[in-house]
Each structure stands twice: as structure tokens, then as C-alpha cells.
């Protein structure tokens, strides 16, 4: 299985950004977290996304660890 070029670029960018960010890890004080506390900076899926993650876990056979079901509860037709 090969990733298309745009996906490779995007993944590379994501890892590079993460790596470079970690290499300059800094301590951020509470009063400096105005950006990090923004609603869109939460490190989780939005509540509304759960329906999408559920159907993806059924239709892709590769579910789990994304807020969707991982085998229990079914509803999987």
C-alpha cells in the first residue's frame, strides 16, 4: 500500500511540525494560554464528529481509538 504524494507531503509536514515544535519545547504559563484555550485548539474531536467516526469505523473495518465504536454496542449494519 502506498500513500499518494499529497498525503505523504501532509504527513511529513505534520511530523516535521511536531518534531520541530518538540525540539523547541517551552514552558507556557497559564496567562500565556489565550491561544491554546481557544475552542478550536482542543486536542480532541468535536462532539458533533462522533457520527462520522462511527460510520467510518464500520465502513472501513479499521476502527478504534477515534471516538467511534471499537466493537461493542453494534448498530453496525
Amino acid at each position: 500500500m502506498t500513500l499518494p504524494n499529497f498525503a505523504r507531503l501532509a504527513l511529513g509536514g505534520l511530523l516535521l511540525a511536531g518534531g520541530s515544535g518538540l525540539s523547541s519545547c517551552v514552558s507556557v504559563a497559564a496567562y500565556q494560554k489565550v491561544y491554546l484555550n481557544d475552542e478550536d485548539m482542543k486536542l480532541a474531536n468535536k462532539r458533533i464528529e462522533v457520527y462520522e467516526t462511527n460510520f467510518e469505523s464500520y465502513r472501513e473495518g479499521a476502527g478504534g481509538a477515534n471516538g467511534g465504536k471499537v466493537g461493542g454496542g453494534c448498530g453496525c449494519n
Binding site: M1, L3, P4, A7, A10, L11, G13, L14, L15, A17, G18, G21, L22, S23, S24, C25, V26, S27, V28, A29, A30, K33, Y35, L36, N37, E39, D40, M41, K42, L43, A44, N45, K46, R47, I48, E49, V50, Y51, E52, T53, F55, E56, Y58, R59, E60, G61, A62, G63, G64, A65, N66, G67, K69, V70, G71, G72, G73, C74, G75, N77
Partner: protein
């Protein structure tokens, strides 16, 4: 902003190693403490500054979605049938603070689906299999401990549909660092399910739709480590190890073999191993580029003992049109290899130990694109009196989202979702 002293360096190194895990392991994951369906897991995100606008208030969310899919690879007919399905899913989530440290949550909802695919179990249109309703109820309890940085939680739930009954229990623990820049959360869940076995009509020997029952257990361990990198950048690395045992086949999925052809009565029901292990790992990275634009990136790598390897990449770019109105376009790409036990219609041999023609387990790629909008004015969208002692409720925020999904198997899907947020004093 200043660089940290030495105690922080090993932590950064550890975080870097964790961040590189997706490139080293075989898996797929994302931190999702806001689970809505089938779980009683309390929210385990890092404690955030209290919001004066809703501190101590009961929160009520009404969610709903309409899902529609179509394709011609339905497993009920051996990989060549219709996949037409619609699903309507209203859900209510209630979050009640008992005091400053303790919360109760309830999640109640149903799925009403209509499926042309399962209709073919009986080979007759408009059969009893054409539609069903699934009910689910989950309850959670979470408490912040005396150190104000640790949150523990317990939960339980149940779901029921015509041929499937499921119970789940869950426990969670999350601890944030003193400076709030790191958090480790762990959640464990167990599902205990019972399925009524419904065979394709031509394979029934007892003259009845039901042919006994079977069980399935699923055990999940979800670990999330999150790290603030700087004032605009933070990441999370997560994994959710999943072990399942019991009935993993769908008894009304037909498989046709090359030796016996596609005639009436020639099919067998799908047969898969009775144990499955999933190994997902993921990386989420959020960047506050400007007051106008943020970037939310996510990658996951997945592998399981069925032989599926998958990569998933997601990108979302929230655009703040005003401080209270956000448009967020999103894109998702997914690619996976086929399970060892998958083969298309008439491609399996009767000598195969396991067999399925379910295209959910096939080799394919998928693209999803969509747009969401969120409107959350600081004083709410509106207020109204409730029947509960005349208390005034606030309609706080509205989130609407549309997604279009397309697989290389030919399956297409449309989904529209809405989330209405209310608070009660």
C-alpha cells in the same frame, strides 16, 4: 516565553519519542474524550480555566444526524448487492455538576436505520430486516481529586437493537502536570455483547429467522499523552489497544465460492476468526496560526491481526469569520489493505478456512470532504423559560456540519449533523 530548565528536557525527549511512534508502530488512534455513542467515559481532557458563563450550570446537548449511503458491494448478497442505507440518530447528552469537583453525565439516544442491504437477508423486499431501531443509554460519573489536577471517572451503559444487546463498563484516570502543559489520561472499557444469529433465508434449517445466539467481548485500553509545545502549538499522542473475542462474523453476510457458483442456496455465511487484536497509534497537532485561522492536523496508523494496515490523515482549518462565527472546512484521506480473509464475489475457495466478501475489509482508499459552521455568541443565541420551576435556559451554541464520503469501492455517503448546546442555571 523562555526555554525550560533541565528537568523539562527529558520530558520533551520523551514526548518526541512518543510523537515518532506513528512512524515506528502499526496503528491508528485519536484522543477523543468526548465520546457520545456507546460509552460512559467521562471527559478526561486537561482541566481548563473555569468558564464564568457556565460555571456550575447543567449542560444539555441535543445532537442529531442524518446519514445516507449507497453502493453496490453489499455483503448480504456476497459482495455484489446494494449498500443503500439511511440512518437517523437523535441523541441527548446531559452533564450535571453535583459540586465543584463532581459531575454526572447521561447520554441517551437512538439510531433509526432503513437498509436495502439487510432487506436482502430474506430475499424479499420490505422484509422485517429492512429497518430497525437501536436504543442506547450511557451514564458517567467523574470527580476531580483534591490536587485539582487528577480526574477519575466511572461509567456504564447499555444498547439494544432487534438482534443485538450490549452492556459496557468503563473507568478512566487523567492527571495534568502542575503547570498544565502536559497530561496523561488512561481509559479502560469492556463490552459484553449478545447477538441473535439471523441466517440468510435459504440457509435456515429450523424454519425460523433466529438460529440461537452468540456472544462477543471487547476490551479497550486508551492512553493519551498531550503536550503543550509553545503558546500556539500543542500535540497529543494516543493509542487504543483493542482485544475482541467471540462472534466477529456477521451471520447474514453471504459468501459465494468459485467452485459452487452463485446460484440460490450455494452461499455460506461469512466466517471470521473468533479473536481480533487492533493496534492503533495516532498523532494530533493543533496550531493557532492567526486570530483568523487555526490548523488541526491528525494522522493515524492502524494494524490488526486480520491483516489490515491503514493510514488515515485529517486536516481541518477553522476560519473565524467573527469571534463567534466559525467556518471549518475539513478533509480526510484513508487507505487500507484488505484483511487476509477477504475476497470478492466468487473468488473464495471452499477450501478456505475463513472467508468474507464484506468490502469494509477490502483494499481501498477513501476521501471525505466537508464544511462545518459554529455559532456561539458570548451571551448565547437565545433564552427561554423551561417547565422546570420556570428556570430560564440559555441556547448557547449551534454547530452544523456536512460531510461527503467516497470510497474507491464505489460506496458514497452523505452525512449532515447538528449539535445544539443549552445551559440550565
Amino acid at each position: 516565553m523562555h526555554h525550560t530548565s533541565s528537568p523539562f528536557v527529558p520530558r520533551c525527549a520523551a514526548a518526541l519519542l512518543l510523537a515518532l511512534l506513528p512512524a515506528l508502530a502499526w496503528a491508528q488512534a485519536t484522543p477523543t474524550p468526548n465520546r457520545v455513542d456507546g460509552y460512559g467515559t467521562p471527559n478526561t481532557t486537561a482541566p481548563s480555566p473555569p468558564n464564568p458563563s457556565n460555571h456550575g450550570e447543567t449542560e444539555l446537548n441535543i445532537l442529531t444526524s442524518y446519514y445516507s449511503q449507497d453502493g453496490n458491494r453489499g455483503a448480504v448478497e456476497g459482495g455484489i448487492g446494494t449498500q443503500q442505507l439511511t440512518d437517523l440518530t437523535p441523541t441527548i447528552i446531559l452533564n450535571v455538576p453535583l459540586d465543584s469537583a463532581t459531575r454526572l453525565s447521561a447520554n441517551l439516544g437512538l439510531d433509526y436505520y432503513s437498509s436495502a442491504s439487510t432487506d436482502r437477508i430474506d430475499q424479499v423486499n420490505s422484509s422485517p430486516s429492512s429497518s430497525d431501531t437501536r436504543f442506547h443509554a450511557d451514564f458517567g460519573y467523574s470527580r476531580a481529586l483534591a490536587d485539582k489536577r487528577t480526574i477519575v471517572g466511572l461509567g456504564a451503559g447499555v444498547s439494544k437493537e432487534y438482534d443485538y444487546l450490549s452492556f459496557n463498563i468503563t473507568g478512566s484516570w487523567a492527571k495534568a502536570s502542575a503547570d498544565g502543559n502536559r497530561e496523561l489520561s488512561v481509559a479502560a472499557q469492556a463490552f459484553f455483547d449478545r447477538a441473535t444469529l439471523i441466517l440468510p433465508v435459504e440457509l435456515r434449517t429450523n424454519g425460523r429467522r433466529e438460529n440461537g445466539s452468540d456472544t462477543r467481548q471487547s476490551y479497550n485500553l486508551n492512553v493519551v499523552y498531550s503536550q503543550v509545545l509553545n503558546q500556539r502549538l500543542q500535540l497529543a499522542v494516543s493509542t487504543e489497544l483493542v482485544a475482541q473475542r467471540g462472534l466477529l462474523s456477521t451471520p447474514f453476510h453471504r459468501v459465494y465460492f468459485r467452485e459452487t457458483g452463485g446460484g440460490y442456496g450455494a452461499a455460506k455465511t461469512e466466517l471470521l476468526p473468533r479473536q481480533r487484536l487492533k493496534y492503533p497509534v495516532g498523532l494530533r497537532l493543533n496550531y493557532y496560526a492567526t486570530d483568523l485561522l487555526q490548523v488541526r492536523g491528525y494522522y493515524r496508523f492502524y494494524n490488526d491481526n486480520f491483516g489490515i494496515t491503514a493510514h488515515t490523515f485529517e486536516l481541518e482549518t477553522p476560519l473565524k469569520v467573527t469571534p463567534f462565527f466559525v467556518l471549518y472546512p475539513f478533509y480526510r484521506y484513508h487507505t487500507q489493505t484488505a484483511a487476509d480473509y477477504f475476497a470478492p464475489y466468487l473468488s473464495h475457495s471452499i477450501a478456505d478456512e475463513y472467508y468474507t466478501s464484506d468490502y469494509d475489509l477490502a483494499n481501498f482508499s477513501a476521501n471525505k470532504v466537508g464544511l462545518g459552521l459554529r455559532y456561539s455568541p458570548v451571551y448565547g443565541i437565545g433564552r427561554f423559560k423551561t417547565p422546570f420551576g420556570g428556570r430560564v435556559a440559555k441556547f448557547k451554541a449551534l454547530d452544523i456540519r456536512y460531510a461527503y464520503y467516497r470510497q474507491s469501492t464505489g460506496l458514497t455517503a452523505n452525512l449532515i449533523s447538528a449539535d445544539l448546546s443549552f445551559t440550565l442555571p
